[in-house]
Amino acid sequence: MNSVYIAGAGMTKFGRSEWPLMQLASVASLAALHHADLGDIPVDGVVVANMGAARVNKQTALGSALVDQLALYPATAESVENGPASGASAFKVGVQAIASGMADVVLVTGVERMRVVNGLEGTDFVASLSHPEAEYIYGVTLPSLAGMFARLYMDRYGVERKHLAMVAIKNHEHGTKNPYAHIRQTVTMEGILTLPEAAVNNPPIAEPLHLFDCCPVSDGAAALVLVSEAVAKKLKGPKVKVAGIGQATDTHTVHEREDPTDLKSVRLASEKAFKMAGLKPDNVDVAELHDAFTILEIAESEAAGFFPKGEGHKALERGDTKLGGKLPINPSGGLKAKGHPVGATGVAQLVELVWQLRGEAEGRQVEGAKVAYACNFGGFGNNVVATVLQREES
């Protein structure tokens, strides 16, 4: 396959937005296109990632709508709905278009505007990805799957609520350094766990997970401009190469997995991505993981191959995963602080990593980052896309 490069990255601030869906998508797209500075090189195709617009925004065919907003006709247009992995899936569709030689320039935009409905409706729309007869009818929501996962995981590996709180504290701290983050305030162990007031500040959502173990519900958009090697050579900016992509699926219901604490799809997707890149987890300088729930950052950091199984929380205790540590995880603030506009998330993770690899992540830059990894976790682990990016010296 032909090499694929990311020439531009942009996003909107995440949070509650008054902008209509397509305005969010357009603003992020234009930021990425300006970043890429394509001159008169045309955009061949557009891929839009989104999960809930058909239901919560009453809008479909977002790819066509974005081409229209950006007046990119007659560019090709696709929409990708793949649950919370929609973003990285859309990215993969764009990469395949260029790798196959069918396109030279593809714009990939993820967008979600879910605060337009109330929290209960938003939770229910995301819960519709669970198994309709064997999970959903019982009241299963994503937080409940995460709660059941966390209880078993914590019991088996000696992870305590203080470790979950450490993920929240770290990612909120990182989020204060990211102007695009939904939540830009620090939290403390006292405030969310040890003081009596913590019971009020941090109520249970799905025991043993509490409010500060869960990402916020956000609106937002993120975009990437993918180009062929021939186009990349004509552009001025630093070259970020798509070194590897891996994807893996698992059973729809969580209970059917041989070991419900094993994020097998993360493991398999990551192995594929590293194999394609010819790299190892040890080579990674910075990572964005899908911390929709704090426990997931710990579990994914192990399944991706950064730490042995059951030792992710020890790496967290040592400070390895903080900015300035051996392997900074979620310098953007992660889903926890940056926010989680579902369809935009997988794209936004890569936007952060492109900025990191180009040395443009002001205030939260991982110095000299050359290799970056992202895990976009769909379903409750039934569809995962892992990506490895690499800065190429010109």
């Binding site: 109330n118 929290g119 209960l120 409706e121 939770t123 229910d124 819960a127 198994h131 007869e133 064997a134 999970e135 009818i137 019982y138 009241g139 299963v140 929501t141 937080p143 409940s144 709660g147 059941m148 996962f149 966390a150 209880r151 078993l152 019991d155 109520p203 249970p204 959502i205 799905a206 025991e207 043993p208 997970l209 869960c214 059973t251 729809h252 219901t253 969580v254 209970h255 059917e256 419900p260």
Partner: protein, 112 residues
């Protein structure tokens, strides 16, 4: 929705799948017979979830994954005041959700 919950038993290899798949995950056979899900089991994990869809009127729901005596695993509602990992439960089938337009029956777990 019936007041029974059925798993699919593969007519070729005998593997029991819950929920049913169109193809047996073990041997790829496409024929199954219904076997009723129920009996005793143990709680694999559980949660009290407060983030619920709007049609639930309770403040929270206690949900669990249970491993039944025959090894089949199921998810359902746990009706136990003092839940514990590994606790023994028995299954019943009852109304689990009433979104208004239909009544949904499914698995509930009681202390055994």
């Amino acid at each position: 929705m019936s007041e029974h919950v059925y798993a699919a038993k593969c007519t070729s290899c005998g593997a029991v799948s819950y929920p049913r798949h169109a193809v047996c995950p073990k041997c790829r056979n496409e024929r199954f017979e219904n076997v009723e899900v129920g009996g005793e089991g143990k709680v694999l994990t559980y949660t009290d979830v407060y983030a619920l869809a709007i049609d639930f009127e309770t403040r929270y729901l206690r949900l669990a994954m249970v491993e039944l005596a025959n090894g089949t695993r199921v998810t359902g509602q746990l009706l136990a005041d003092e839940p514990k990992l590994g606790m023994k439960v028995k299954t019943i089938v009852d109304l689990v959700r009433d979104p208004g337009d239909r009544k949904l029956y499914g698995l509930q777990f009681l202390p055994a």
